[in-house]
Each structure stands twice: as C-alpha cells, then as structure tokens.
Amino acid sequence: MKLLELERLRAGYGPITALFDIDLALEEGETLALIGANGAGKTTLLRAVTGLNRAAAGAIRLQGAPIHGLPVHTIAARGIALVPEGRRLFPSLSVEENLRMGTCGGRRGPWTLERIYSLFPVLRERRTQLANLLSGGQQQMVAVGRALMANPQLLLCDELSLGLAPAVVKDIYRTLAGVATEGVSLVIVEQDVAQAIQASDRYLCMREGRIVLGGTRAEADRAAIARAYFGSAPQ
C-alpha cells in the first residue's frame, strides 16, 4: 500500500501558487530525494504535506485517507514529522525539553529519549542546556531526535546539511539510513544533489513548482538531472 499520495496538488501562499498539479506516490519504507534549485517548491511541498500550507486543489492521502484540510496538529498525530529548515528548536527549552516536545502527538513506538541519547551521546551530556547554545551540528541532532520522538511513519527532512561540517552531515545521514531500515519512509530535501540521491531509493527533481524529472538512484544521470535542474543544458 502507498504510504503517501499526492494527486494533482496545487498549493502556495495566499494568491501566489508555488506548486502546480503535483503527482507523487511514496511506498512504505521508501526514501525519496526531492531536489531542485531555490524556489523550485520543495519546501512548499513539505509544508503542504504537514498542513502548514493549505492545499488549494488536489488531494493528499496518508495510507489512503485524505489529510488535506486537516489541522497541522492532527496531521502530526497521524505520523508525519518534519525536521524544518533552519531546525527551529525552541530557544527557551533545554535540549531534553525540546526532545520531549516530539512526543506531544501521543504516538507510541520504538523511539524513546533513551534511544535518542544512545544514537547521539553528546545530547545526553548537554541535556539540561538551552538548545540554542549548542553547535550547529548538535542542534541538527536535536531537531532530528525531536522528530523521531514523534514515532513517525513519514519523516520529512528539509535542508539537513545546510551550514554543517561534512563529517557531521555524514553522521546524520548514517542515522537516517538506520531509521529507514526500521520501516519509516523519508522525504529528503537537499541542495546537495549528490548527497540526497546517494541517501535515497528514488529521486524527483522540481523546477518552478512542477516535477520535471524522476527516477531511481541506479538510473540517475548527471547530465539529465542538470538539464532538469536548471531548465536547460549548462554550457
């Protein structure tokens, strides 16, 4: 059964349409890379799936049940978690309090505070500190940990590697690979095309609010992706 389906989805910000007739299907346990230039509509797509942006037309279904139009907190409680761009940690909460916020949707599952701490031991050492005092990489660990604490069926990751050291990025992607083997589906939005495709089963390339190319990791062709990404062959 398909975990997530988008059908002719149209969404945007007020009068501005940023997504045009998006069709997309994601299997359970599948990892999908969503690539494209700035302004291609990747973040808007994630925001539409979480309910932060209302679908103007079309449908979003989770395990066959329509979720478009539901409030953000209800969609979260159905098992969709987002690691937002820029992390968006709660500045007046400690590391541990930030992680605990992930449980507010009330879903049970394998992810507990203890497991997050064994995954990222440095967070246990810093658990009483305010989250914003951590380094960028550690903050990203909190953001990923917070999303996992929700025990999601679908994890959406927006620009995980932005501003982080390559070693940290590698660490976080290794964690995500582990998460995927436990049956969680992932959508990974990245500027770093090679990183995203390498971490995924399949990729979709977006441009100007539309999906312009897609394929499996094995058949990913750099020249074709570059053409789709920029809209024409780079000289």
């Binding site: 932060l52 987002l82 007046s92 909460l93 309090e97 507010c104």
Partner: protein, 290 residues
Amino acid sequence: MIEWLDTLIQGILLGGFFALSGLGLSLSFGILRIVNIAHGDFLVVAAYLGVATVTTSGVGPLTAILMVVPAMGLLGYLLQRGLLNRAIGTSELTPLLITFGLSIILHNLLQEIASADYQSLDAGLVETASLALGPIQVGWLPVGILAAALAVYAALDLLMARTRFGRIVRATVDDPETTALMGVDTRRIYALGMALSMAIVGFSGMLYGIKSSFNPQAGGSQLLFAFEAVIIGGMGSIWGTLAGGMALGIAQTVGYKLHAGWGAFAGHVVFFAFLLLRPSGLFARGNGHG
C-alpha cells in the same frame, strides 16, 4: 526611622495585591500577546460574582473564592475559544480592540445589573485584626494577601518550569507553528493560558472585594495599577511583575505618607519615570518564563 520602616512594610504588603492582580495581566500578555484592556473590569466582575455567591448560597467570602476562581477560569477558556482565538494571526491591534469593547460592555452591564452603588465583601474579623511586630502593626488581611500572592507566583513558576503543560506553553510562546508540528493544538493551549490568567484575575478580584468597597467604575483604576506593575517590572517577565507590584505599592504608601492625597499619584510618577528612563522595566524579558 521606625516610621519609615513602617511605611516600607505597608508598601510591600500593598504591593502584594498589585503583584497578584498584575500577574493575570502579565500572563495573558506573556502567553497570548494580548493586552487585556478588560482586565480591571473582569477583576470587578469577579468581586460581583463573589457578592452573588455569598448572598445566594450564604457561604463566607473566603469560601466563595473556591467557586469564583474556577468560574472565572472557565469564562477565560470560553472567551479565548469563542472570541479571541479568531483574532490570532491578524494584527496586534485586533485583540486590543476586542478587549477594549469587552471592557465597555462589562462596565455597562454591571451598572445595569448591580447599580452604581458601592458594595463590599464582608470577611469578618480577618479584615480588621492586626499583628504587632514590635512597634509596627500589620493587618492580617494584607499579610494574607501577600502570602497568597507569593504562593501563586511560586506555584506558577513550578507549573511553567517543571510540568509538561508548562513546557508546551513555553514552546508555543517561542514558536507556535513548530509547536503545532509537534502535534499540539495551540489554540487549546491559548485557551488554557487565558483560563489560567482569568483564574488569577478571579482570585485577585475576590481579594480586592474583601479589602475594599467597589462599584462598576472601579475597573479602570484597577487596570491602571495592574498595568503599572507589569510595565515597571518589565513586560513579559512573570517575576518582574512581582517586583513591579512591590515597587508600585511602596511608591503609593510613601506618597500617601508625604501627603494624604498623593498615594496613587506617587505610583503614577514612578510609572511615568520608568516609561521615560527605563521602558523595558526592571526585568527585561529573556529568561523564557513566558
């Protein structure tokens, strides 16, 4: 010397009431970013609810507190759910205008129902009994109000710092959008925050009705005093409001000692001085205690 010490102690005792009443206002601003212009009128509504409870059920005012506080909390919840939540996400001016309108409505409604006559809540001996601290006499009632205010502050601090509810409230104040992504219905959190604020307003209103007589006009000056306590303490800082209430209480008793007509005026002068010289107040917001 003893005389001035007496003035200082009486000021702190009076400040206990301002701190408590200011807390209701501070909380609705801290959590909801709503400046509740109807704050003083709700305080007076609570006092009238106290009168109604005492006359219909025959219990004393201190027992009536146990009924009025939850009733005011429920009123706050319904007010937020039914009216103020609709204004969230619009301009900052909208909730201000709504509560301004509410203030006028409540004021006139009280006048219509209860007449413009002065009323009071008679709690008996506790209102006049006093305690001798060496040469200084302090009343049991102001001591009780100060103790109650400190207890409410301590309880609120524990609630915000140690509980799941407090954590969710702080997260909502930080970033409502991300809090919703965590599976939290933030509108419900706003409604519970308003309920908490109005329960404290209900408690302050009952204590106000016991310590002084009131009529439907009294809301205006009560709003002003609470507002002064919040601004002197620093807007958005809960513990700042406690300090602001104390500062206002001391200013008023010192003013009163200098001249019988200068009590409230001295408080306004201190408030004005803060607006002019240190508009962020004693404790500028930043510790995150919503």
